[in-house]
Symmetry: C2
Subunit: 430 residues, 2 copies
């Protein structure tokens, strides 16, 4: 972003600070360094001894208490990483709405600040140690997705256990309805017909595969390297008597073979690693019949940027949300043709807010199984992600593609938007 940014960030650039800092000496100086690095946000900051900073030119939207002196210098060196670490440890408390506070800081940092040298070093180091080999991917995925199905059941939707962006056709849609809407939207984009074959790369708890089988009578082969998820998916598909149509394969997407009418991957690309994109595209090309359709649903960005250091360390090791220019090496070297890209960013804001609300409602149960740093880490991750989508720092792209030579294409996208009263209606339940 440049200084002539026209959008809301510009209000910061033109803004004349009216700063009030209490306290003296080193602490006061360190506090002024910190607020400089994070771009003078509309946040009151209070240290352990009452030293405080506030910019009266803004309406203050939250107060951040830094309760322990060990964090101040670290926050200056790498705010993203150490804010998360200190929050987890209970040494930072936020008074006011956590998502709004985070969104305000992201905005002031984007408008004003550059990476600190320590952040750049951290990022370089993380880039170097990235490991999305098959074994590396198994370790990374195990750490996040194998926390325990019971944990995710508490706050994901109860119908399809979707841990990806929902689709709120109406702002009043429940999380359950919005996740079913998402599954239906994906199926419509793939134009599934009974008897077709689908391969799914990264199937989570298997909800999309079961939805496709139940509502579109297609055969689905769904890959996942998370043992907990595959175990759950296999039990569920037997319970629902759909196991003649759906096969869950505990294996890496790189081992996909066969010839399918559709390729689908919802929420896996974030874990693939940029270095593997051309190979992923080559797998898609091999897996797709000449008139097959594919869909990738992934978190992304408007422009290339490093992953938040704390999220990388604590939540999603080695994950990366790519920009569209970074995504294209999947398709372009493999002669695949982009038919449709839809950005569902605002739907992810709402999804994350719904998740966070349920998470907070189930804190008593969560606390029975997890310690306080874990509880705080997940709150921060959900609120911070909502703030990132709301602020436009993260996007959600649904990309439909096919072989470059395929002329068996729908003329318009009208079929995505038919009502339940239309001939081939919308499926309201899983």
């Amino acid at each position: 972003m440049t200084s002539e940014n026209k959008s809301s960030g510009a209000t910061f650039a033109q803004h004349k600070p009216d700063v009030e800092t209490t306290g003296t000496g080193l602490k006061r100086w360190l506090l002024s360094k910190l607020v400089h690095h994070i771009g003078y946000p509309p946040i009151r900051i209070v240290l352990w001894d009452g030293t405080s900073w506030v910019d009266h030119a803004h309406q203050t939207i939250a107060t951040v208490y830094i309760k322990n002196k060990t964090w101040l210098t670290r926050l200056i060196l790498n705010p993203d990483l150490y804010f998360g670490e200190a929050y987890m440890a209970g040494d930072i408390e936020v008074e006011g709405d956590l998502e709004s506070a985070l969104q305000a800081v992201y905005k002031s940092r984007t408008a004003h600040a550059n990476s600190t040298p320590a952040e750049q070093l951290t990022y370089a180091w993380r880039s170097w140690r990235r490991n999305n080999s098959m074994a590396g991917s198994r370790r990374n995925i195990h750490r996040h997705y194998d926390i325990g199905n019971d944990f995710y059941k508490l706050w994901l939707d109860r119908e399809a256990m979707q841990y990806t962006c929902a689709y709120y056709e109406s702002p009043e849609d429940s999380l359950e309805q919005a996740q079913l809407n998402k599954l239906e939207h994906v199926c419509r984009k793939l134009q599934l017909k009974p008897g077709q074959t689908v391969v799914e790369a990264g199937c989570g708890w298997g909800g999309l595969a079961r939805y496709m089988a139940r509502h579109y009578q297609v055969h689905v082969k769904a890959y996942n390297i998370s043992e907990e998820q595959v175990k759950f998916a296999r039990e569920k598909v037997r319970e629902e008597s759909l196991d003649h149509l759906v096969e869950y394969v505990l294996d890496d997407y790189r081992n996909i073979n066969g010839d399918f009418d559709a390729f689908v991957s919802v929420g896996m690309l974030e874990h693939v690693g940029k270095e593997n994109y051309p190979a992923l595209g080559s797998i898609m090309r091999r897996a797709l019949k000449p008139d097959g359709l594919g869909l990738i649903h992934s978190i992304g960005r408007n422009y290339p940027a490093p992953m938040n250091a704390w999220i990388d360390k604590r939540i999603f090791p080695n994950a990366y949300p790519p920009s569209i220019s970074e995504i294209m090496p999947i398709f372009e070297p493999n002669g695949l043709s982009i038919l449709d890209i839809e950005n569902l960013r605002q739907h992810y804001t709402q999804t994350l807010r719904d998740w966070l609300q349920r998470y907070e409602e189930h804190l008593p149960e969560i606390r029975k199984h997890f310690d306080e740093p874990f509880v705080r880490a997940w709150r921060l991750y959900l609120a911070g992600s909502a703030a990132s989508f709301a602020g436009g720092y993260l996007q959600l792209f649904q990309i439909v593609f096919t072989h470059g030579e395929n002329n068996n294409l729908s003329r318009t996208r009208k079929h995505l938007y038919m009502d339940a009263s239309d001939e081939k209606g919308f499926h309201g339940s899983i």
Copy 2:
């Protein structure tokens, strides 16, 4: 494309030629070199003296007569360029459907052949002399668009004189209806509301600007550097009493200034030049209000490739259809967010076939004003372009974008697909 291409190209890779060549000596050897370069297409080739080549393993779909010996070695050096030159001169005749013949050759070349060294040299030279400075752009645009409005009137749609891809909601739509559909589709994507302001970069004969003013009561400032087109547009807007809403500006898009609710550019990006993309994006960012929407409609590709040498020389000097990865430097460095990309490739095939049919119907009038090489050049250009879209070598991207921070976005794309019976109905006439 690699040799393991799964799609229809693969039939060539696996194909065992069953070649019959008549004649002897140098001519026979040169002919075999030529068919090697163009990848053994299902085309019979006959030289001036009756020497011929055919591959009986294919069903032959056309016969190409090379009627003059001066072309054979040149065709081997640079088939794209000299096929066009020889066809213009009347020294190549095609028996059979011209578009199908061209499509077959494009396909065999893509599946089999690499650029010849002469082609690579030609391309390097053309890249070097590219000139999309303001003066260079004026010269390039003058050469194509100022041929004369009367010429284009003969074969473009009669309603809106659109020289860009139409949108056939139904395969039975007339060219006129499909062009109006396109204008409406663009307006809906921009979500225009009465009283808003729109800036258009590259407005052709001004049809979109007039449509927007008439049907959406918006104020449009439309830029174009083609004198003939602007003259026509200004007359037309006065005739239609819309001149209080539409201003046509004879100027370069680089001189756009102001603050608009919408930015639109239909069929200009092809002429901008890759080196100017970040600057174009910067102009868009400056021109767009914080919650404004923008749309770019452009010919593109699935992967970067040089422009056809003959089209560059004779039809569109310095034009270039970019791939999506090549397009992204417009948006990403400028913090713009992609909301929607739609590929309308098949609609351009149909548009070009409609144009070609009308062109052929009006040959007697065209011949009154233009010589035979011109007549043949435009036939080849229209048929060759149809073949390129039909074969998947060219795409048509409609890209909707906004500022990265804009949260004033529609939830779904359903508003694009409402019927005439809906509240805010479709506008069936200009």
